[in-house]
C-alpha cells in the first residue's frame, strides 16, 4: 500500500520536480562566506539582549531556538511590554527565503538583522549607531570582530549583521521524515502522511508552497514570491481580521501589493502556532481550513484536513545541537542602559 501510494504521489504530482529535499547547507552571498569564528560571533550576538533598549530582548526572545524559532505568541512582545502588528516568522530555515519579513522589505538576512534592533516595539534602540556603540564597549566582542573581519574599525553595523546572518544560515533542519521519504526511505512517512502529501499536491497547496522549503519557486536573491492573502472571500476574512492590514502595500505603495505577503516556509510549521501574519489562527487544523477557501476556493472535509496536517507534521526536522554561548562579559559594569526608557 505504501509503495502504491508512493507511485501515486510521484505520478500525479503537478510538477515532477516539486518534491525536493532540503539541502544540507544553506546558500550564502559572495560577500559573506561563513567561517567558524564568524558563526560563533553571530551566535553570541543573536543571544545577547544587551543591544535592546531595556537590555532584555535578544533575537532569541522572539526567535526562540529552544523551540520553533518563534515565540508562540500572536504578535511578538518587545521592550516595555510593547507588541507589534505581526506574528514572528520562524528563524529556522529563514536562510532559504529569497527575501525577509512577512512583507519582504529586507532583501537579505543581513538586511533583516538590522531591522528589529531599532524597531521601537521590538528591541527599541534609538538607532543602529547606539546599538553598535554598545558592542564596541565590550572588549570580548571587539577582539572577535577584529579577528573575523579585520580592518581599522571592524566593529560595524554591517559586520554585526553579517555575523548574525552567517549564524542564521546554520539554523536549518534537513532530514525531516519528508526529506527522508523523498530521498528514498519509503518507510519515513505514515500512510496518513502519504495521503496528506497527495492531497497537498492535488488540492493545489503546492502551487505556492513548493520547493525544498515549501515557500515557493526558486527566485533570484532579493526577489520575493508574494501572494495575495486571502485571495478569495470567505467568512474567515472577518473572523480572523485577515485583511485588516495592507501587507506589502505598506512597503511599495503599489495597489497590486495590497494584502500580499511573502509565502512562508512550511518547514516546522507544526511548531510555530499561532498562524498567519497576524497570528490570529490558533491551530494548524484551523490554518489548513482557512487556507483552502482563501487561496484555493475549496472546502476540505475533516478527513482531508487531518491528512494534510499529518503531512505537515512530517516537515518537522531534527534540530541541530546548540550550546548556549558565553557572552563576552563587562566585569564590574553594565553596558545596557540602567535607566529604563519611559514607554513612548
Amino acid at each position: 500500500m505504501r509503495l502504491l501510494l508512493l507511485a501515486l504521489v510521484a505520478l500525479t504530482s503537478p510538477l515532477a520536480s516539486a518534491w525536493d529535499a532540503l539541502p544540507e547547507t544553506a546558500p550564502y552571498p559572495a560577500d559573506n562566506p561563513p567561517s567558524a569564528a564568524k558563526i560563533e560571533l553571530g551566535k553570541q550576538l543573536f543571544f545577547d539582549p544587551r543591544f535592546s533598549a531595556t537590555g532584555t530582548i535578544s533575537c532569541n526572545s522572539c526567535h526562540n531556538l529552544m523551540a520553533g524559532g518563534d515565540d508562540s505568541r500572536q504578535t511578538s512582545m518587545g521592550v516595555h511590554g510593547l507588541t507589534g502588528p505581526r506574528n514572528a516568522p520562524t528563524v529556522w530555515n529563514a536562510a532559504f527565503h529569497s527575501v525577509q519579513f512577512w512583507d519582504g522589505r529586507a532583501k537579505t538576512l543581513e538586511d533583516q538583522a538590522k531591522g528589529p534592533v531599532v524597531a521601537h516595539v521590538e528591541m527599541g534602540m534609538t538607532d543602529l549607531d547606539a546599538a553598535i556603540a554598545r558592542v564596541r564597549d565590550i572588549p570580548g566582542y571587539v577582539e572577535q570582530f577584529a579577528a573575523v573581519f579585520g580592518g581599522a574599525q571592524p566593529v560595524t553595523v554591517d559586520n554585526a549583521a553579517k555575523a548574525v546572518a552567517a549564524f542564521e544560515r546554520t539554523l536549518i533542519t534537513p532530514n525531516s521524515p519528508y526529506d527522508r521519504y523523498v530521498n528514498g526511505d519509503t518507510t519515513a512517512l505514515t500512510e496518513q502522511q502519504l495521503r496528506g502529501m497527495q492531497a497537498f499536491a492535488d488540492l493545489g497547496c503546492v502551487a505556492c508552497h513548493r520547493g525544498p522549503a515549501f515557500n515557493g519557486p526558486e527566485m533570484p536573491g532579493g526577489v520575493g514570491f508574494f501572494i495575495s492573502f486571502p485571495f478569495h472571500d470567505s467568512p474567515y476574512v472577518e473572523e480572523y481580521g485577515l485583511r485588516d492590514e495592507p501587507g506589502r502595500y505598506a512597503v511599495t505603495g503599489n495597489e497590486a501589493d495590497r494584502h500580499k505577503y511573502r509565502v512562508p516556509t512550511l518547514r516546522n510549521i507544526a511548531l510555530t502556532a499561532p498562524y498567519f501574519h497576524n497570528g490570529r489562527v490558533k491551530t494548524l487544523e484551523e490554518a489548513v481550513r482557512v487556507m483552502a477557501p482563501s487561496q484555493l476556493h475549496k472546502r476540505l472535509s475533516d478527513a482531508q484536513v487531518a491528512d494534510v496536517v499529518a503531512f505537515l507534521n512530517a516537515l518537522t526536522g531534527p534540530f541541530p545541537e546548540l550550546t548556549l554561548p558565553r557572552l563576552p562579559p563587562t566585569p564590574g559594569r553594565s553596558v545596557a542602559d540602567p535607566e529604563p526608557h519611559p514607554t513612548p
Binding site: 502551487a207 505556492c208 513548493r210 515557493g216 514570491f225 495575495s228 487561496q295 476556493h297
Partner: protein, 520 residues
C-alpha cells in the same frame, strides 16, 4: 520478380500535377484579401525579374541582395533589433530580471507549463538543427541574421543581448531564461503588433512590441476578468487573434523581401480565416478538436460537446469555457523526440496531427489501350494552412505508390525511399516548394532563397491530384494499389549535411494509407 525491374519494364508515366485552390467568396473582406494575394505574388515576380543570372553563389557566400524599392518605403529607424521588428514599450534596456522564469509560472499553471515544456516553443532555441543553420547563416552574412533568427527563436536573448555564438562548434548560448525559447513571459508580455511598420506591411519577422514587467508583473492573455494572487493581469484582444501568431509564423527574407515562410498568409487567405477560425483554435486544443473545427468549419466555442473547460490556474474560482493547451502541436516529430527526454508525448501528438490533416482518394481505371490508370487525389482537409507549411522548401510530403498483382507480387512502385533514405525527387509527386538562390540554383538555406521555382504545397481545403499509369503482369486477375501519403520535416540528406552523417534519423510519418483493387 524484381519489382524495380518491372517498374522499368512497364514504364512510369506520371502526369502533370494539378492543384485546386478553394474559391474566394465575394465579401468585402474576401476582396481585400484577393488584392493582398496579388501583391504577394508580384513580389515573387519582381524578384525573379531582377535576379543576376550566372553569378555563382556558393553555400555560405554572403548574398548581395537589394530590398525592392517598394519595400524600402517604410521608415524602420525606430527598430533597435533589426532586421527583427521587435520594439520595447518605452524603449527600455532589458535584462533577464525583466522576465519571469517559466518554472515560477508552473506552480499555478501546471497544465500549461507541462504542455509547453517539450513543445517546439520550449525548444525553439535549443533545437540543434536550428542552431546549426543559424550558425551557418551567421557566417554567411557576417552576423547579419543574429536578430532575424533570434527574434523568434530566442526573443529574450535578442532583447537582453545575451546571445553568444561559437562559430567553432556552430552553437549558441544565451541567458538562462532566454535559452528557454518562446517561454511564458514572451507571449504573455506582448502588447501589440508592429505589422504596419514591416517592409511587407504584414505580420512577420518578429513584428511585436513587448512590455515585460518582471516577476509578478502584468501578464496579458485572452481572459477579460482574469485575477491572480501573484501577478497583475490584463486582457489582450491580440492574444485571441491569428495576428498574434503571425508575428513570428510569417517570415520574409530581410534582404530581398521574398516570403520564405507563409503560414499566417496561407491562413489569412483561406476559408478558415473567413469562418473566424484562428491558429489557437486548432493548435491550442487537442487534435480531436482541430479535426472537428475543420469538419464543421466553426470555432470551438460554436461546437457542442467539446468539453474544453476548466480552471485556468490553481486556486481559481471561475470555470473557463476553454482552457487552452500550450503544447502548440504542429508537424515536428524530430526535435520534439530529440529534446523531449523520456516523454514522447509531444512527438506523439505531432504524429497524430499529421495523421488527421489530409485525405487520400483513389480511383483505378482500366484504359482502352490495356494500361491501368491510378488517380490519387490528396485533399488538405484539416489544416488551416498549406500542407506542408513554414519552410515548405525543406518539408516533404509525398505520395508513395506500390501496386501488386493478385499473387501479391509488387510490380510497380513510385515515391519509395532508397537505401540512403532518399527520394527520387524528379520522379516523385512531392508537395513542397523548390527554392532557388539569386543564381537560379536550388538551395535549402533560407538566407540564400530569392524565389521558389515551384510550389506544390496544398492550400487549406484545396487538393492536388497525380496520375500513375502501369500495365498489369500478364495473366493477373486483379491489381491492388497501396498508396501512402508521407511526411518528413526535412530530407535525411539535409539533416546529414547540416548535422553530420547519421547524427539524426529523420522519421517518415505515414499520414494516410489507402488501398484500391481493380478486377481485371
Amino acid at each position: 520478380m524484381n519489382p524495380t525491374l518491372l517498374a522499368g519494364l512497364f514504364g512510369i508515366l506520371l502526369s502533370g500535377l494539378t492543384t485546386t485552390l478553394p474559391a474566394f467568396d465575394s465579401s468585402p473582406v474576401g476582396g481585400d484579401q484577393m488584392h493582398r494575394a496579388e501583391a504577394a505574388i508580384s513580389v515573387n515576380m519582381s524578384t525573379t525579374g531582377s535576379s543576376a543570372h550566372g553569378a555563382a553563389v556558393n553555400h555560405g557566400a554572403k548574398p548581395d541582395f537589394e530590398m525592392p524599392a517598394h519595400m524600402q518605403a517604410v521608415d524602420d529607424s525606430a527598430f533597435k533589433f533589426k532586421p527583427a521588428y521587435i520594439t520595447v514599450t518605452g524603449d527600455r534596456e532589458l535584462t533577464e530580471a525583466d522576465f519571469e522564469d517559466p518554472s515560477v509560472c508552473a506552480g499555478c499553471h501546471p497544465k500549461q507549463y507541462e504542455g509547453w515544456k517539450g513543445s517546439m516553443h520550449s525548444n525553439s532555441f535549443k533545437d540543434p538543427i536550428f542552431q546549426k543553420l543559424w550558425s551557418m547563416a551567421e557566417k554567411a552574412t557576417d552576423g547579419g541574421l543574429m536578430n532575424h533568427c533570434g527574434g523568434c527563436h530566442t526573443p529574450i536573448g535578442v532583447l537582453t543581448k545575451s546571445i553568444k555564438h561559437d562559430p567553432d562548434t556552430d552553437t549558441f548560448t544565451a541567458g538562462p531564461i532566454a535559452e528557454q525559447g518562446v517561454s511564458c513571459d514572451v507571449c504573455h508580455s506582448i502588447k501589440k503588433t508592429n505589422y504596419l511598420e514591416t517592409a511587407t506591411q504584414e505580420h512577420g519577422n518578429a513584428s511585436w512590441e513587448i512590455d515585460p514587467q518582471g516577476p509578478a508583473g502584468t501578464k496579458r492573455g485572452p481572459l477579460k476578468d482574469a485575477v491572480s494572487p501573484y501577478h497583475k493581469t490584463e486582457y489582450s484582444e491580440l492574444h485571441t487573434k491569428a495576428d498574434f501568431c503571425g508575428n513570428c509564423h510569417n517570415i520574409f527574407h530581410p534582404g530581398n523581401g521574398f516570403p520564405i515562410e507563409r503560414t499566417y498568409d496561407e491562413w489569412k487567405y483561406s476559408p478558415y480565416a473567413r469562418a473566424g477560425i484562428v491558429c489557437q483554435d486548432c493548435h491550442m486544443n487537442p487534435v480531436e478538436v482541430a479535426v472537428r473545427v475543420a469538419e464543421e468549419m466553426k470555432p470551438p466555442e460554436e461546437i457542442d460537446g467539446l468539453q474544453l473547460g476548466g480552471f485556468a490556474g490553481m486556486g481559481a474560482s471561475k470555470q473557463r469555457e476553454v482552457v487552452h493547451s500550450h503544447q502548440f502541436v504542429g508537424g515536428n516529430t524530430v526535435v520534439t523526440a530529440l529534446l523531449g527526454g523520456s516523454d514522447d508525448s509531444h512527438a506523439a501528438a505531432a504524429r497524430e496531427r499529421l495523421q488527421n490533416a489530409a485525405r487520400v482518394d483513389l480511383q483505378m481505371l482500366p484504359r482502352a489501350d490495356g494500361l491501368i490508370d491510378l488517380r490519387v487525389k490528396v485533399t488538405n482537409t484539416s489544416a488551416g494552412h498549406n500542407l506542408p507549411t513554414s519552410l515548405t522548401d525543406v518539408r516533404q510530403i509525398w505520395i508513395e505508390v506500390r501496386v501488386k498483382d493478385d499473387a501479391g507480387n509488387e510490380f510497380y512502385r513510385n515515391g519509395t525511399l532508397d537505401s540512403h533514405g532518399e527520394l527520387d525527387e524528379e520522379d516523385t509527386t512531392l508537395f513542397n516548394a523548390v527554392a532557388r538562390n539569386e543564381a537560379g540554383e536550388v538551395t535549402h538555406f533560407p538566407w540564400e532563397v530569392s524565389r521558389f521555382s515551384r510550389d506544390t504545397s496544398i492550400p487549406p481545403k484545396g487538393d492536388a491530384s497525380a496520375r500513375y499509369t502501369f500495365k498489369a503482369p500478364a495473366g493477373s486477375k486483379a491489381v491492388t494499389a497501396e498508396v501512402r501519403l508521407n511526411y518528413r520535416s526535412y530530407s535525411q540528406h539535409l539533416a546529414d549535411v547540416v548535422l553530420g552523417e547519421g547524427v539524426v534519423k529523420i522519421p517518415v510519418i505515414e499520414m494516410e494509407l489507402e488501398t484500391a483493387t481493380l478486377d481485371l
